[in-house]
């Protein structure tokens, strides 16, 4: 049944797969904006957007529930952003002003290429990850590409040629650089554990999940591999989490926007479709960031600790079907990502924004030493235990 598809030449298949992933990621990011509005509303004791519905659909029974959930608001918002007049202010540098939102989308949609979002068992019973590009540099590629996102912010702030966007972009770049360090240092212990001494080295996220996919072998050392990363690398997970909030510019680290002191930050001068590109890019970063956190520390597509996907598929009797196993893996993974995105939004309404000096202080004086100490601790621990 899949031979038909796999007989296509590679140059045809890869863009098709890429397009499919983008076509899922883009609406997912838009859905996140809706979820954000609903979750914000529920936390604040409001119902949130619940009126929009296309008159044609209103006749179908059961649509009321979707209407109450604000599903159609999504189409209304998207339609508005697409069709409203997209003005370019007179005082901006037009070329870079238009380039910036496009540059925001590129890294946001590129990083997803190396993120595995599911797995299936091939005929030999081997776990094959579902992803666009199973490259060995894995996480390094994500870090390299996603940090390019700051260029769009800088460019937007500079091209806008006014003070608030400029201040916002300067803050954003300082913040991103400060937290990138702790973020990278915090994931090193994960890869120290993945790469057994003497073996061939990898930075692939697939191998990180494979490390967390062990079964229960009684109270032996082997059972460690069934646990998720967050259990034996809690500090790494915590530092990564905090840095992730900073890197995705989410509250309490939304320095670049901070509407209270900077009007709208780097996108003050933007409107309509160009603004929505920034918006979607931010959510894409959030989704990919959550995905990477789930892969590194929450077991990726494994349902529970000591219950890897292969075993779960075996229990459900669907191990023979790549389609069902793959679907199950994707559903589990996306479920974790969704829960994580809920956490993002939950924190947004819990913590107030840090002051700029506090952000810098947390980044350089707290998180970075902590990340280094964490790395040294695991270096020693691994060196002593895995001789």
């Amino acid at each position: 049944m899949f031979d038909f598809y796999f007989n296509f030449p590679l140059w045809f298949r890869l863009p098709l797969q890429g397009l499919a992933v983008i076509l899922v990621l883009f609406p997912l990011a838009a859905a996140c904006s809706m979820a954000e509005r609903k979750i914000s509303a529920w936390i604040q004791g409001r119902p949130g957007p619940n009126r929009t519905i296309a008159p044609i659909l209103a006749w179908i029974p059961g649509m009321g529930v979707l209407q109450r959930l604000g599903i159609f608001q999504l189409a209304a918002d998207g339609g508005k952003f697409t069709f409203k007049e997209d003005g370019v202010p007179g005082h901006v540098n037009k070329f870079y002003f238009i380039l910036a939102p496009i540059l925001a989308m590129i890294p946001a949609l590129t990083t997803v290429a190396v993120v595995p979002f599911g797995a299936y068992l091939d005929s030999a019973g081997k776990l094959v990850p579902i992803m666009l590009a199973n490259v060995d540099v894995g996480l390094l590629a994500v870090f390299a590409v996603s940090s390019l996102g700051v260029y769009s912010v800088i460019l937007a702030g500079w091209a806008s040629n006014s003070k608030y966007p400029f201040l916002g972009s300067v803050r954003a770049s300082a913040q991103l650089i400060s937290y990138e360090l702790s973020m990278t240092l915090s994931v090193l212990p994960v890869f120290l554990l993945v790469n057994a001494p003497g073996g061939h080295g990898t930075l692939s996220l697939v191998d990180v999940v494979a490390m967390q996919s062990g079964g229960w072998h009684g109270f032996t050392a082997q059972s460690w591999h069934g646990l998720w990363g967050v259990c034996y690398l809690p500090l790494s997970a915590f530092i990564f989490l905090v840095a992730l909030f900073a890197e995705t510019n989410r509250q309490p680290f939304d320095m670049p926007e901070s509407e209270a002191d900077l009007v709208g930050g780097f996108h003050t001068e933007y409107g309509a479709f160009k603004w929505s590109l920034f918006f979607v890019a931010e959510y894409c970063h959030m989704i990919v960031g959550s995905g990477i956190f789930c892969l590194l520390f929450l077991g990726g597509w494994n349902l529970l600790p000591w219950l890897p996907l292969a075993k779960l598929a075996g229990l459900l009797g669907i191990a023979a079907s790549p389609l069902l196993t793959g679907g199950l893996g994707i559903v589990i993974f996306l479920g974790k990502v969704a829960a994580f995105i809920f956490f993002f939004m939950w924190v947004r309404w819990t913590l107030p924004r840090f002051r700029y000096d506090q952000v810098m202080k947390i980044g350089w004086q707290r998180l970075l030493p902590l990340a280094i100490a964490n790395l040294i601790f695991y270096l020693l621990a691994i060196a002593l235990t895995q001789k």
Partner: protein
Amino acid sequence: MAVIQVSRKPLTFAERTYLPQIVGGLKTTLKHFFAPNDTMEYPEQRPAIPPGYRGVPTLVYDPHGREKCVSCQLCEFVCPPKAIRITPGAINPDDPTAHVEKRPQEFEIDMLRCIYCGLCQEVCPEEAIWLQNQYSTTGLSRAEMVNDKQKLYELGGTLPDEHFKWDKKKAAEGGGHAH
């Protein structure tokens, strides 16, 4: 006066990381997440109007169906934003309430001017003008926002009366006493 130095307890390590406080905050927001909404979904759900509410000014009938306003124009004079305009008119001599002598021929309240101060209700000697429960007036033009007499009675309806002042006067008149 002696200055009392209050020694502040130093923060514990857990407090200095802020993490327990953040967890506490997360618990609070989660509680609100599951709590029922505080918002009233307005056009479908209407707020309960408390007694004594001062909404749109209206004209009322007494329980016998007589319009209470005698167009004395006190409200028109007292109205601070000059929202009221009354055209007085005579009551037909063969009307059972002819002894009241006057009734408004036209009574207009411009709701674009009205400030809901209630002075008209306070000044009315006939208890004919009442600020009642209606709180929302809409219109597509300025002319639509002017409540005329018919509209004012429609909004006002009939309110209970304790005095029946004019019935008593009529009765007294019948007994030979001029009022």
